[in-house]
Amino acid sequence: MWSVTSHLVYTFFTSHVPGAERSRHKSRSKDGSRSEKSVTINAPPAEPLLGDSSVRGEEVQDDNWGETTTAVTGTSEHSLSQDDIVRITKDMEDSVGLDCRRYAALTVSAVLGLLVLLTPIAFLVLPHVLWRPQDCDTACQGLLISLAFKLLILLLAVWALFLRPQRARLPRVFVFRALLMLLMLLVVVSYWLFYAVRIIQSQDKNYHGIVQYAVSLVDALLFIQYLAIVLLELRHLQATFSVRVTRSTDGETRHYSLGQLSIQRAALAVLENYYRDFAVHNPALLMAAKSRAAKHLAGLKVYNVDGPANNTTPSQSRAMIAAAARRRDTSHNELYYEEMDQERRVRKRKARLVVAVEEAFTHIKRMQEEEQKKTPGEVMDPREAAQAIFPSMARALQKYLRTTRQQHCHTMESIQQHLAFCITNNMTPKAFLESYLSPGPTLQYAREHWLARHWTLVSEDSVTSGLKDGSVFLLKCIDFSLVVTTRRISFIKLSEEFIDPKSHKFVLRLQSETSV
């Protein structure tokens, strides 16, 4: 932050000096070049992960750990920006409402489960309490045993299907589950009604009949469980739709197959796959495109000769666009050479990095059991070993991360942890470098990177309606949005053709020439 403000101050004061242009250019180029000389400038912090860099609350991030790592300091590079603070407070507010709803659903399921468990037992116990029915004969006792087991299975099923920890909060209620719980409640209530009216009032002595009645209730509930399994778990397994998910910032696209789901459940499935498949969102990579776009229209200015200024009529803006299109733009040239340069730079840095890491790994050797007893002198555990070899590769690694603009994704602490992990598990240098050479999925990074757990579903159709061919919805988070389009998998007509294996015959294609 200090460097940024000082930079601003510097340009303000030197704007009147004739030599200022050159010096300003020089300082900017010095900042921007990936020079081979020592990296001593505090580079202006890259745009933070979330929101724009209105740097009101940002701490200084020490980017030079590549040169200064000789000792472990234990401080983590965690910088908070204003947006982070705002979002954390918003999360805290949300979480109160979130918990209420989550626990409400959980309590309803628990109450229903308890009801389901106690009802058959109540059916059996009440006759003994209120009046004395007949004693239980063998068939009746057999029914009691089967009732016990069925009840146990029912309980396990209810626990498995309805008492699961909720992994997401959906905007609308989950229709199928609500309907099924309602159905169960209905069945239980109707059985109670019948029991109360017919059996208690008439004080039926036939205990066998009562036991059969209880068993029939448990059977009905077990069938409802079967229906629940089919509706909640099985129906959406058969792939019916193919969805295309595009990230709005950099256009990364994946395709997934989904079954018949409601839009909110489909959104949930898409998000789970997003965290696993899409490369992590890196706003630093988008700056180049933005600056190019800014340059396109920057050169043109419309002067209103006749009327007062600040009157941009539609014709004026159209004239601007036309003029911009007609102007001979050599920005494509710049882009081409810049991309070539960048690629070459990245490859050079990568080569240096690979060599440095390989060399660093050769300094470490795993000690065998017998050796351990012989030389107890300089034995290190993985963490110390990682800290010992880290400085030799730190500079190359930091330069590489800077070149590929990933430096804010990895802190020194996380790199050392990863190194210790790789050493413990006998991984090769290549395996260690794998997570740094290319941006991995969001799951790979520290928790700050998926702080955006709050997603907004934007859809024209109701979110509890099912997916249809051509339905489009948006999943917005703070930095970007995911555009999801659906296509129905077309009906496939498969037919059979039999080819007799003996029918594979061939002839030679002759073309001879004879001289006469």
Binding site: R509, L510, Q511, S512, E513, T514, S515, V516
Partner: protein, 123 residues
């Protein structure tokens, strides 16, 4: 020069008479043939219609009797000494041309330029 099965084939032909040359116990004519009903017509570079399985002249050796008689490369041979050459195998064609007891072969050949010449003359 394509044929419709069942219909007679009509073509403008040129009569070419070649005297065989005796060359150390062989009678040679000085050209090479390709094609035949047992060959692959698609590989024939001289035919207009790639399903034409007729006999074509693929090479005319310089200074030979065929060149002297006016045979040109790419000609389709329709008759040899009265024997039909439009529906014969490659080997049959070779035999007809290289009969040891004949000194002279009279060919009826056709080519595209003949057709064009006749058409231009009629206009």
């Amino acid at each position: 020069m394509s044929f419709i099965p069942g219909q007679p084939v009509t073509a403008v032909v040129q009569r070419i008479e070649i005297c065989k040359l005796r060359q150390c116990d062989n009678l040679i004519l000085g050209f090479s043939i390709g094609g035949g009903i047992d060959q692959d017509p698609g590989q024939n570079p001289f035919s207009e219609d790639k399903t034409d399985k007729g006999i074509y002249v693929t090479r005319v050796s310089k200074g030979g009797p065929a060149e002297a008689a006016g045979l040109m490369i790419g000609d389709k041979i329709m008759q040899v000494n009265g024997w039909d050459m439009t529906m014969v195998t490659h080997d049959q064609a070779r035999k007809r041309l290289t009969k040891k007891n004949e000194d002279v072969v009279r060919l009826l050949v056709t080519r595209k330029s003949l057709e064009d010449a006749v058409r231009n003359a009629m206009v």
